[in-house]
Amino acid sequence: MIADARKPPAAPSSLRLVMTLAIAGLVSGVAIIGIYETTLPTITANKARELREAVFKVLPGVTRMQALVYRDGRIMAVPEPQKDEPVVYGGYDEQGDFVGYAMPGAGPGFQDTIALLYGYLPGDKQVVGMEILESRETPGLGDKIYKDAAFVAEFSALSVEPEIVAVKKGTGSQANQVDAITGATISSKAVVRIINETHAAWIEQLPAPGTEPPLADATGNAGTGQ
């Protein structure tokens, strides 16, 4: 009797081990899928709203927008761009007339990658707004690229011909020059460089001014033609 009590319990079978893991995995999978489906509408709505707000900020006067991609040799409107497909956003006013493009760009800054969105009017060849979407620049110095209202305002009427140039603070005089932030030269120049690079990548593919894709209505059909 005593010897029996001292015997160690038998090790669980392999089947038991596998079953336990399988059940745990299954329950876990169900729970995760559940929360994903529940939160998906809210998350997509949040993302869309953030994007809309940024686009409206960099293109004054714009109240509607749509995604534009370059396929089959021309710019066209799509309800949903493919993953990793380069996209620009067309901004339209209340009447549905084209106003300008909101172009996203990204590149290395001083500390890490900077992601931004800038508004561009093809008719005037001008940048009319810039919004930093992501940045990890140095707080107090580099982060002025979005905290310093004066710097952001430099981008509200900026010519892109021949290209944007960042110059020392106070010396900017021409239409394509931006005053860099004192003590954050590299971050400022990075912003300018990102805009120039994004622009160079898209300028060949943008249609001639006045022939931009019209705003597609809710059913995905293009509005009455140009």
């Binding site: 999978g29 290395p108 990658t113 030269t185 460089r193």
Partner: protein, 192 residues
């Protein structure tokens, strides 16, 4: 952002995984009392990072596009399996090394640096080559930070340290100064 040298140097120095992102602190503070162990652990971790980066890319590209919510669990399983596999490999190839590394090998599994690597690479959309370069930079950077702290700790054992500061407090303050030094690398690769 496809700039491979930038990715490598950034992970290695400018945004060092340990000193800037605070990843991998458990081994950083716990293991770094011996220079040799630190170097070995760093090497093993780098290898696990490389394997993880490749597996993460494969998972992201082929499997997780259909089920993004399973990402976390899949990554953890991959990391745990890789560490298990390396343990068996080292045990078979070099029992002496296995004995020397002891408990630290299984601990690589809970090293936030590896999971962090997988998550960062996913968030930044790195491809296959970029992932490998990133893992190399991160792993070597991790090893570098570990070796630096280990060297400093070994030196400090010969000095008279007030009893109050000894231990983790001192290591953290040294790490803070190291981190400040590494901040000097920012802007190393500025292309203006």
């Amino acid at each position: 952002m496809d700039n491979l040298p930038w990715i490598f140097i950034s992970a290695l120095l400018v945004n060092n995984f340990v000193l800037t992102y605070f990843l991998g602190l458990c081994p950083f503070l716990g293991v770094s009392n011996s220079l040799e162990t630190s170097a070995r652990l760093g090497l093993a971790t780098t290898f696990v990072m490389l394997v993880t980066a490749v597996c993460a890319w494969v998972l992201n590209t082929y499997v997780l596009v259909h089920a993004p919510y399973l990402r976390l669990i899949c990554f953890i399983v991959v990391i745990a399996s890789t560490v298990q596999f390396i343990e068996m490999l080292i045990k078979k190839l070099s029992p002496a090394l296995f004995r020397a590394m002891g408990i630290f090998l299984p601990l690589i599994t809970t090293n936030c640096a590896i999971l962090g690597l997988a998550i960062f690479a996913t968030n930044r959309g790195y491809g296959f080559v970029e992932g490998i370069v990133y893992a190399l930079g991160a792993g070597i950077g991790f090893t570098l930070a570990l070796v630096l702290l280990a060297g400093l700790r070994e030196e400090s054992e010969l000095s008279n340290i007030p009893k109050l500061i000894q231990g983790t407090a001192m290591n953290l303050i040294i790490a803070g100064i190291l981190s400040m030094a590494f901040m000097g690398f920012a802007g190393l690769f500025s292309t203006s």
